[in-house]
């Protein structure tokens, strides 16, 4: 397995700050907007975005965690079983501008499932997608992000790992991992 650092913690800080300013340009003071982090790994990105937005705006931006497990289209087709995570959304998304947040956009199937799962909480006014990493040329569905941290061209044998300080990592970092045959 080869592991190559593609974003270090300083760059990641800058990336998150830039994404937050882009969000503020479109959502103002977030009075009609909410953030939904996709479980499991979009949760950490959403929480980081929320804390950065709070420090800039001086107010708490509503955040929810959305699990898409029961809405996935690959149930019973995967080699490994899917374990469900908790959904924690204590507001309705009816009429809100929703920002779905995930760490990596790959095939787009998780986002499709998220759109499906989100509808159980109401009909949003609009939905945008924010991802830290957009893996190019790998989409199975016509889904594109609205806000992107960085675009990465990768092989099918590679995967992108986003690590957060305090979550089994010493520093924030984004890695490109290549599986080898050894």
């Amino acid at each position: 397995m080869q592991k190559r650092l593609i974003v270090n913690h300083q760059l990641l800080d800058i990336m998150v700050m830039r994404l937050c300013h882009q969000l503020i340009e479109n959502h103002g003071d977030f009075s009609d907007s909410v953030i939904l982090g996709l479980q499991p790994r979009g949760k950490y990105v959403a929480q980081r975005i929320q804390s950065t937005l709070s420090s800039i705006l001086g107010k708490q931006v509503p955040i929810g965690l959305l699990d898409t497990t029961f809405h996935r289209d690959d149930f019973r087709r995967r080699d490994t079983p899917i374990t469900a995570n908790a959904t924690k959304i204590d507001f309705l998304v009816e009429g809100k501008n929703v920002i779905l947040v995930d760490d990596v956009l790959y095939t787009g199937r998780s986002v499709r499932a998220a759109l499906d799962a989100m509808i159980a909480y109401g009909r949003p006014a609009s939905v945008e997608l924010l991802v830290l990493i957009d893996r190019l040329y790998t989409r199975h569905l016509p889904i594109q992000p609205t806000y992107v941290g960085r675009k990465v061209n990768s092989l099918l044998s590679q995967r992108v790992l986003v690590e957060w300080k305090g979550q089994q990592a010493e520093e924030d970092a984004i890695w490109l991992i290549t599986k080898t045959d050894e």
Binding site: F70, H71, R76, I82, T83, A84, Y121
Partner: protein, 307 residues
């Protein structure tokens, strides 16, 4: 990534504590689904489930049916009354005919202990035992433990007494296995004629005085007197049973402690439980019904992953 250790849910005896933990964690998520404005997920949309009930049941069948529909499965219901079973068809033939209609899972209730075990050896579908004779009723035991966990935080270390007709109850046996597997202490209480002779060998305490049992326990799971399953009289009269084993609010108040009152339903009001006890703050009977759907959704969902 976790999965169940079994392909069928035939009894609590066949599963592991890890399986129970996984079922509960999944049921937590389904309980959340059931409290949303849209109470349905598409997980089992390509699966057909047959509810095959060779014995009457309303609430278990309804609970399973609702769980299946909430998971978007296609559902067919079979009941033996008025069916070809009455014309002499064998169990295996009946089920094979249902399977020929491309059914993926079977939820089965049968009056003979071991009927779902027999079928599981002969057919390719996943089988969920919804009660076999006086043997096991695993989903009821799971939802009972889930309800205790929800009310008291955990099952481990809790003292649970099962009161009533232990001899004819499949709920009692599955509950004993499930509670012990999770680290609870279990007692059974009832007239000596309704307690199986060697029940102590399962590692449970035995008590014939209901007051002493209630003083000992954190949770009382009261069973229905199953008059329809009794071939002979096991106690002189219902009135006498109520006098000695019935639980009312006065008795609960006199204990001076908080206990959790459970009942798998349907209640014989005024026999094993008085109305003021069944409707008191001790009771979690309606929570059990609500949790039943979430737990059954979890079981069906996890078994479907096993193919």
């Amino acid at each position: 990534m976790q999965e169940l250790s079994v392909r069928h849910l035939l009894g609590i005896k066949d599963i592991t504590p890890q399986d129970i933990q996984l079922i509960f964690e999944t049921a937590d998520n389904f309980k959340d689904v059931l409290n949303r404005p849209i109470k349905k997920v598409p997980s089992l949309r390509d699966i057909t489930i047959a509810n095959v009930f060779f014995e009457n049941s309303t609430r278990t069948r309804l609970s399973f049916e609702l769980a299946e529909k909430r998971l978007s499965a296609d559902v067919i219901n079979f009941s033996s009354s008025g069916s070809s079973v009455k014309k002499g068809e064998t169990l295996l033939d009946t089920v094979n005919n249902i399977l020929a209609m491309k059914v993926d899972m079977i939820v089965m209730r049968h009056s003979s202990p071991g009927a779902p075990h027999f079928l599981s050896k002969h057919i390719p579908a996943n089988i969920v035992n919804a009660g076999d004779g006086t043997h096991e009723h695993p989903t009821q035991a799971l939802l009972d433990s889930f309800s205790i966990r929800e009310r008291l935080g955990e099952v481990a270390g809790k003292k649970v007494v099962i009161i009533g007709d232990i001899l004819h109850s499949r709920v009692a046996l599955s509950n004993i296995f499930a509670l012990q597997m999770q680290g609870a202490e279990v007692m059974v209480c009832g007239p000596i004629t309704l307690l199986p002779k060697y029940i102590q060998q399962l590692g449970v305490k035995v008590e014939t005085n209901v007051r002493k049992a209630l003083e000992w326990c954190d949770v009382a799971n009261v069973l229905r007197i199953q008059l329809e399953r009794q071939q002979m009289k096991y106690f002189p009269s219902l009135r006498e049973y109520t006098l000695y084993y019935g639980i009312d609010k006065k008795l609960l108040d006199s204990l001076n402690k908080e206990i959790v009152l459970m009942h798998p339903g349907p209640i014989n009001r005024g026999v094993e439980l008085s109305s003021d006890a069944a409707d008191s703050h001790h009771s979690i009977i309606l929570n059990q019904v609500e949790n039943g759907v979430a737990v059954r959704m979890a079981v069906l969902y996890l078994l479907a992953q096993k193919g």
